[in-house]
Amino acid sequence: MADDNYKGYRGKALSVLKNFSALVWSDVEITTTKGKYKGIILPRSETADPFHIVIKMPIGYNIGVAADLVTDIQIRGRKEAHYKIPEKDFPRDPSKPNVKLLGTGGTIASRLDYRTGAVIPAFSPGELYGSVPELANYCNLETEKLYGVFSENMGPDQWIGTAEAIGREIEKGIDGIVIGHGTDTMHHTAAVLSFMVQNSPVPIVMVGSQRSSDRPSSDAALNLMHSVKTAAESDIAEVMVCMFGPTSDYYGLLHRGTRVRKMHSSYRSTFRTIGDIPIAKVSRDEITPLRQDYKRRRKDRNVKINTAFEEKVSIVYYYPNMKPDIIESLIDNNYKGIVIAGTGLGHVNKPLYPALKRAHEKGISIYMTVQTLWGYVQMYVYDTGRDMMELGVIPGENMLPEVAYMKLCWALGQTTDQKKVKEIMLTSIAGEITEREPSNGYLIYQGGLPEVEEFISKYVK
């Protein structure tokens, strides 16, 4: 591992710095065969090449100086960066609700990491108040950093830990919970928490940001305000995802934890409710319910935490020409459950049938979902569907593939009895299966059409 004094440097650059005893954060004048450069030596990203020394010039710009051209380094002083958001004590107002922010990581609050050159998470109530003082308008805020991981590194330990933390906070009498989370797998966590935390008397709001908070136009501050307002004031006692409605700094949407999905790799308005409409709209000033069938806030503390979890479950995203060895390898590796994201109404090709049959016979639970995301699995419509049901593949209604995956992990964690698993899987617990799809549950407008363009031009995007 590279020396901390020469953070991130290796190869030629490292040996030149060592040669002149020029540590990272030294204020230096570097002489090269091309000219002189003044500035502060910065740490280097470990993924960058070993040939350059990075300096921050007095005007604030950084440049890389080729190490093999360096003839001298004069050290003039030292200025180490202290990247610290000014902390201010979060004010307490007994008349305001108490909200707990549980941090798991992600870009909702983050700072620069020199090692990777990327942003890493950092937060505390004081820091949050220092950067988003508006939060104090809504609540008394406490924070607890559960984890500091990017969302792709969330796993069963973190899910279980988060569910347990939620249980503890509810028992302690909290009025609402916000969970800071990276956005990539936020809908996975939202789904699993919807199952693990049942009968919550208070709102549980997941929030993140699509633009890190080190950017002036970040969505982090507004998302945080929306989520804190929801946790503090709303009467929706469910697991929700709270993220931008439009891409503009305008309002957020409260999505049900089991029906939400990240739908764009980078847009701010990436989260959408699939096959239904969101629960509510939230702005800095008000929460506007879009439907009435949500679970209400209660005074009691009768929450049920059930953190059962079976890890040996997989999602198989079917593609034409898939070979049975994919299924075979899951059988051979002792998987207990498979969620298939099938084509159309829920199909896979015939060559897979024998493998599926063998999986079923070995006691593996197999559930079908649709890769179209919208719509129900309908295995009665075509013979192929009926054939598969014969093989033991169970239609998963309109559960989203990731949601079915989380639910199957959770169900298999509770029992290995296939019948009981099926009962758990097909009984809607948190809106993951809906009896009907409303006609406005599927709206992907096609750009270019005159009526759509007219709509876009009328409303702030």
Partner: protein
Amino acid sequence: MKDFLFKPFEEMTDKDYETVGFKSGLEIHQQLFTTKKLFCRCPAGKYSERYDAEILRHMRPTLSELGEYDGTALMEFKTKKDILYRINRESVCTYEMDDTPPFLINDEALDLALQCGLLFDCSIVDELHIARKQYLDGSIPTGFQRTAIFALDGKIPYKNRTIDIVQMSIEEDSCREISDTGHLRVYRTDRLGMPLIETVTGPNMRTPFEVAEVAEICANLIRSTNKVRRGIGSAREDVNVSVDGGTRVEIKGVPKIGRIPHLTYYEAMRQWNLLRLRDELHRRGITKETFETKSDDITRIVKKAHYLPIRTATDQGLLVKCVVLRGYFGLLHWQTQTDTYFSKEISDRVRVIACLTNIPNIIHSDSKGDTLTSADWQNIKRAVGAHDNDTMVLVWGNEQDTEMAVKEIIIRAKEATVGVPSETRQALRDGTNGFERILPGADRMYPDTDLPPTRITEERLKILRVNLPERFWKREKWYRKLGIPEDTIRELSISKFAPLFKFLVDEWRIDPILTAVVLIQFPKRLKKRSCDISLLDEEMIREIFRSYKDGLLSRDGILTAMQKSLKKGKFYPELLPKPLTTKELEDIITETNNELSKVRLINNENSKEVLMGLVMNKVRMSVEGKIVTEKINI
């Protein structure tokens, strides 16, 4: 400070500028001519006022890499603006909207930039690091401009000295502001993301005229690559000015070099007069430490006032506040620039930071005419406890804005005890300038974590050096020796045809003056004849000159040949008429003479000139006028 009063612009001498210690440097922005934008694949240079959609954003200050907040950013945050972007889907994609991360830097743009760096004799950086330069005014939807320094430590010759080129950066262009009223600012995004380079000179210029001249040289040097955009807004200068004891103040976005002398003169005058104001305050015993002020809500007192802006405000239920500046009597009317007074400095801050954009936004007791009656002023004075040697400043608006305005009035008044605040100022049409924002510093820089550093290899630079245009001032020297007309020299020296000129004169031995006129003046004439001169390329001109050299085309026929070629889009030898024999020419003359004899001329003495004209119309492409003259025997 030295005892000196600014004279009118025309009367200022170099000596006078030396007395006040005039110092100025330039930041020259020039858009590069590329097909695509700098960090996305949108087409560059597609301008339109049409828009399909709008996006709303707010900006918040963030920490710099070294963990500090930038003063400008905090100032902009105080303004709490709604920022609305107008989006045209032809010229803007999700990158400019800040909904997609950047793509790798446009290599075409980087090559052009590097070429400019070499022209300025700079040392090119070994590794390019993209930075985010924060702009909380909203002029870029991300809240920052992606920018990178690619060249350092260059120089250009000027008079008998050199001007330093401190650094050059490549960056994405910003939005154009459409309006800014109250808490709403609207931007058009068609220019956003276009590649441009910024060239920063040292503070080496000593008079306003030197600043303009150096700007001209730098602009021409960049233009001589012939890979830059032309037209309004494609080149803009920021000018830094200071005087002895003053502060570096940046005048932003000067669209025309011709305006630089007045602008820098007025800024120097402003700084000088602010320093004089400071001395006057000190003379009165007012310093940063002894500065005293108070503010009161006087809405009830002025409720019945007849002064319309205040009357309207109180009618609308807005607040009116009075700031008392102890000992400032008369000083808000202290002249800073021609017809501009210290009160303007305060009014500007109130407008920009407190968003009270309806002018007048303040009134004060140093300039009583046309505002409140003296009875009203007396009432206020009594109510707020002001003395004869105090000044009262009134401001009105909603509670939040008025509160902010009061703070800003106090801040700006107090700054007067210190001297000239570091500011970015806006160039105004009359040559004076107005406050735009607090001058940002190094703290607004942040490394762009979305893009990796780019190594600039020696191989890449080698190729660029081979294709580097000759410095235009060297060309000019040669042109003068050749006797090229003065009005053509500069243009030719930075023209894309300069290498062709050298070839035609050196290799084909064609008359340099004729060549220069054909290359520079003819296209202008053809443009007037509505020809599409963008089709005029090196090959077309070379072929026309080849015909001329081979005697297939007369000197007088070149323009016509160019016009015909432009119509066809290419030069074809078939466009030229067959060469005439002497016999054929004589026949044409005889025939024309016969035609002419049937016409009665008003003035018969001119008949030979008329005949000459008529004949030339028929034979222009193929016979030199000289020969026709001889034949007609004028």
